[in-house]
Amino acid sequence: MNMHYSSAGGAHRDNLAKGETLLQVDNISLSFGGVKAIQDVSFDIKKGEIRAIIGPNGAGKTSMLNVINGFYHPQEGTITFRGKERRRMRPHVAAQQGISRTFQNIALFKGMSVLDNIMTGRMTLQKRNMLWHALWHGPAQMEELEHRAAVEKIIDFLEIEAIRKTPSGRLPYGLQKRVELGRALAAEPALLLLDEPMAGMNLEEKEDMSRFILDVNHQFGTTIALIEHDMGVVMDLSDRVMVLDYGRKIGDGTPDDVRKNRDVIDAYLGVSHDD
């Protein structure tokens, strides 16, 4: 691997040491009309770890990511990111603060090439305004070239050199997932949210993706929150696991703890709830 971030957490440098709390979620409740998607959930994400969020379908995992990056606004609870309690914010502000993500249903920009998709990931790092861009030659071009070089490193890292000019809508599913990871990485995030990055992949593709995730975490120290249904993958990759069921947290701990947890086993085996 020959990709170098400027530091752990890339462009979003902070003073946190590995193992300190990066994100703290307290007593979050979120509902849509009558549907209680999340009920009074608290947990934290430590800097440098891979934090898995698991649970049956409809448990509220995606909703939790949406809350973290400001797309959903919970009715109750607080979120503290890098020591600052966050007020209600728009998703692009969360992105500027260093939270980037991939989506459960691929959300690439289909009309744009792979290169442009990943370049778009660096949106928050580029500063030149419209007037410079109108002139192009000079500062705007220099900035573009600088970011192009960074993006080429990501392209090498993900081994997608051959498709950089291909419109992303034309790619097979597995590659689209990989490009989406590239776009999220391009932001050099402090916190990377991955929503089922391996869903629908075959074994080989899953192995590749697992390797990429581990490399990102080990080499750049990027903190990762990962939603995944494949238990094998979760147990292998993650440092700590949180389990949601019907919007409630029913387990939290190391993969081994969680595997032994009675409630978790019941939830996965579909034992009926008495409440």
């Binding site: 692009h92 442009d116 949106m123 928050t124 419209m130 573009e144």
Partner: protein, 358 residues
């Protein structure tokens, strides 16, 4: 195999970013530009200027503007005619209020004024999308035309309700008014289209262009990865209106010389420019030009064939022409949504492989 890119390797990202990465294409482009600037002015006559070249250049400018908004940023607009009217009236007011101002500045300032109005009408796009936005821009179209008719201040209380461009010069040569020459108006418009065509290419190739396309392709994902929808949409509305305003100013001052707003900038203008963008290619600078060339030349050509050569009645020819253009639009929407620009790209790919199909 004269058209090829083998051996034309890129050794830097800068070379890879070029507008025309292939050498032969680059030469073709500059030869074309040289002919347009250095040869055409010597052969131009009034018919070619009025029937073909001026409308072609001015519509290309308007199509560039609409393509930025609709093709790049995905915001459908039916207000092009209305925004051209803003440009025309801004131009008229500037020309009459500041007789000493040179024509370059007048057209550019008209563009900026239109950009301001465009920003205002772009605000609803932050809340509404697609069909509803199209209807809102349609309302802008009718409102603007109504406004320019209603308030006599806009046409300086002239009895006819028309606005007429006084003579203005550039480097001492008249480019508006009764004593202009075809080559002067042509070169004036060509300069604008060349410079701002290049600017449009620059704006769309970098971060700003990507923020527009991201909003177009998937607005929620765009916002989540850090594109501010407010900035992206409003900048698209502003830049787009700037171009359309300059087109309106030149349409009035350099091309027609005198206009009446309902006639010159009605809803048909909005549709005409939209059709140019669709046929030429949504989200393509080249497409904006191809669409304008196509829809300006086609009627001239058809008229010459049907009326001049086949001897049909003028109204029959006009109806056939409308049907043909309608058919073409349906064809492009269904078969090739990326328009003539895409056909050109595909042809190039084929040429590159020729004579071996695989």
């Amino acid at each position: 195999m004269f058209y090829r890119e083998a051996g034309d390797f890129k050794t830097s990202y800068a070379a890879d970013q070029q507008t025309f990465p292939i050498k032969s294409e680059r030469w073709l482009f500059w030869a074309f530009i040289a002919i347009a600037f250095l040869v055409v002015p010597f052969f131009i006559n009034d018919y070619w200027n009025k029937a073909v070249l001026m409308p072609l250049l001015i519509y290309a400018m308007a199509a560039l503007g609409l393509n930025i908004l609709t093709g790049y940023c995905g915001q459908v607009s039916l207000g092009t005619g209305g925004f051209m009217a803003v440009g025309a009236y801004a131009c008229y007011k500037l020309m009459t209020a500041f007789p000493g101002m040179d024509m370059f500045s007048v057209v550019i300032l008209s563009g900026f004024i239109t950009a301001g109005v465009g920003l205002l009408f772009g605000i609803p796009s932050l809340r509404i999308k697609g069909f509803y936005l199209a209807v809102a821009t349609l309302a802008a179209q009718f409102f603007l035309v109504w406004m320019f008719n209603k308030f006599a201040w806009f046409y300086n209380y002239s009895a006819s309700g028309q606005i007429t461009a006084p003579e203005r010069t550039v480097f001492g040569i008249a480019v508006t008014g009764p004593s202009t020459t075809p080559w002067a108006t042509y070169l004036f418009a060509l300069t604008f289209v060349f410079v701002f065509g290049w600017v449009a290419r620059n704006l769309t190739r970098g971060r700003l262009g990507r923020s527009w396309m991201a909003i177009r392709d998937m607005d929620i994902a765009a916002e989540i990865i850090g594109v501010s929808p407010l900035r992206a949409k409003l900048s698209a509305f502003g830049v787009s209106s700037f171009y359309i305003g300059m087109a309106g100013a030149m349409f009035f001052a350099n091309y027609l010389g005198a206009i009446e707003v309902t006639e010159a900038f009605g809803i048909e203008k909005s549709f005409l420019v939209l059709f140019m963008v669709i046929i030429g290619g949504l989200g393509s600078i080249l497409g904006s030009f191809l669409g304008a060339v196509f829809l300006v030349l086609l009627p001239v050509l058809l008229k010459n064939i049907m009326v001049g050569y086949l001897g049909w009645a003028t109204d029959l020819a006009a109806h056939v022409q409308i049907m043909l253009i309608g058919g073409l639009i349906v064809f492009f929407l269904i078969a090739e949504p990326h328009g003539l620009a895409q056909l050109w790209r595909v042809t190039k790919e084929k040429l590159r492989l020729w004579p071996f199909p695989y």
